[in-house]
Every structure is written in structure tokens, then in C-alpha cells.
Amino acid sequence: MKFKAIAFKEKSSERIYRDYISRIQKVTKALPEKDQNEILMELNSHIYEDLQQHGGGNEIESLLNVLEKLGRPEEILQPLVADKKMEQATRTFNPVHVIKALVYNVTNGISYFIFLILYVLLLGFVILIGAKFIYPDHVGLFYNPGHVFIYGVSSADYHQFEVLGNWFVPVTMLLTVVVYFILTFLLKLKQTLKRSRN
């Protein structure tokens, strides 16, 4: 089903309407196209139905009234975008969606903030992989029982204790992926629990 714009007689009404529609589109831009279209069409239908009921008089006045009663798109759609983004993130496991969803939800509870921190820490692993190529002697798994245990960067030269060698790169990659899936799975579980509690 496709979005169909409402036709107006006056140029000014047209401009106000276009502005409101583009604000809806801007707020929902981070969502899948299907969700964007769904939200746009539903609010458009609301505007149209209200104008049918209360049209009659001054067109601009009627339009301004309905838009004011609806509220600012940035405000009313925030919870909807946050919910839908989280649905998408935990469905696709796509890191970009996950980070965006957490940013949208960060005001909805401390746990989202903690998740965001954990994901950022995970980014540290990725940085380690790059660092291994630049400072091969200072990055790795340094292990000497009772003396050293470092997974990452060591300022002192412990290269004689380094146990993984170039295997450090694939091991860290694997670790990143595994931790990522565990975290995202926990996030998904949290959403399901939250839903069944509500």
C-alpha cells in the first residue's frame, strides 16, 4: 500500500502539511522502510479523517488545529521509533541497528545504558586486532604463571611470555563475535521478559 498525499486548495496549507510530513519522515528515518511507510500512512490518515470531520471553515486553521492536537512528530514518535528499532535490532543481530536501538532507548532505563557500555567495550577488542599489526611485540596474550597475565596491550616488553603469536588475531575475532552474540541474545531475552511482565 502506498502513501497518498492529501490535496489542499491553499498554497500555505500545502506548505504546512508538507513540512509536517517531512518531519515525520525525518524522525522515522532510522527504521526499516516498511515501518516508515506504515507510520506515515497512519498519521496521514489521522490528518485526513480529522479534516473530513472539522474541515468546512478556514483550511489553514483546520489543518493547524489537527496538527496541534496530534502533537510534534519528534515527541509523539520517539517511543514508537525506540520500540521498533529495538525489535529490528534483536531480530537482525545487525551491530549498526543494535547500537542505534540502544541510543534511542538509553533514556528508558539504566540497563540499556549498561548494554551500550558493554558494546562499546567490545569495540576495544576490534581495536586490539588492529593494534596487534602495528605493535606485534606489545599486543597479545602474555602469560607466565604467578607473574604476568595480560590479554591486550602491555607497556613493558613481555614478548617472551606471549603465547598466541599471530593466532591472537583470529582468537580475538572469534571472541568478539561470541561475546557479541551473547550480549545481543541477552538484550533479546530482556525485551521478551519485559514484554511478558507488562
Partner: protein, 118 residues
């Protein structure tokens, strides 16, 4: 004295807005419970008719989305001759069951409060 009065009014207004927010789901499900289908605008008109609740109309849509993800309601688009389709909502079986539990709780709460304020 005047200061105290305005404080109280502020407190009551805040409380009222919390109650409104908290009961909106309950009101929506009650309107849908007989199985009749409503589109968003229609539903808001009905809410306003049935209760004195003034809501920012746009806030209804995030609420409807949550109810839908929770499986309490479902929706479908229906084409109109105007070319601007309506999205109709209806209650699901699970929604009816949930509403029953909510209604029981509501009655209990109401009784308790009536007893307390006697």
C-alpha cells in the same frame, strides 16, 4: 497560604496525568472489547466521548503499536475511495483474556480504595 494551594494543584495535576497515562491502555481495550473495529481517529473520538481524557492524540499510535507487539490487538489496512486507507484495529482472544484480568484487578483496587476512604 496561596503558595500551598498552588503546590497542591500542581501535585494533583501531576497525579491526574499519571493516572490518565496508566489507564489509557485499559480504556482502549475496553472500547475494543466487543469486537468492533476502530481506526485511530475513530478510536480517539470514542475515548474522548467515553471519558474526560484529553490526550495528545499522536501518543495513541505508539500505544497501539505496543499492544500489537504484545499480541493484545491486531490491525489491518482497508482501502478507501478517497485513496487514503484506514488502519483498523481489533482485539485478539489474548487481548480479551488480558482485559478480563485487568478488569478484575480494577474492581478489587476500586473496592479497596472505597473501603479506605470511608
Amino acid at each position: 497560604m496561596l503558595y500551598i494551594c498552588t503546590m497542591n494543584e500542581e501535585f494533583v495535576n501531576k497525579w491526574i496525568s499519571q493516572v490518565k497515562k496508566g489507564t489509557l491502555t485499559f480504556i482502549v481495550l475496553n472500547i475494543l472489547k466487543d469486537g468492533k473495529e476502530f481506526y485511530g481517529y475513530d478510536l480517539i473520538t470514542e475515548i474522548k466521548k467515553a471519558t474526560a481524557i484529553e490526550i495528545a492524540e499522536g501518543t495513541l499510535y505508539p500505544l497501539m503499536n505496543r499492544l500489537k507487539t504484545d499480541g493484545l490487538i491486531d490491525s489491518k489496512w482497508v482501502e478507501q475511495t478517497s485513496g487514503i486507507p484506514r488502519k483498523y484495529y481489533h482485539i485478539t482472544e489474548e487481548g480479551k483474556k488480558t482485559l478480563k484480568i485487568m478488569s478484575d484487578y480494577w474492581v478489587n483496587l476500586n473496592n479497596s480504595i472505597s473501603n479506605l476512604s470511608k
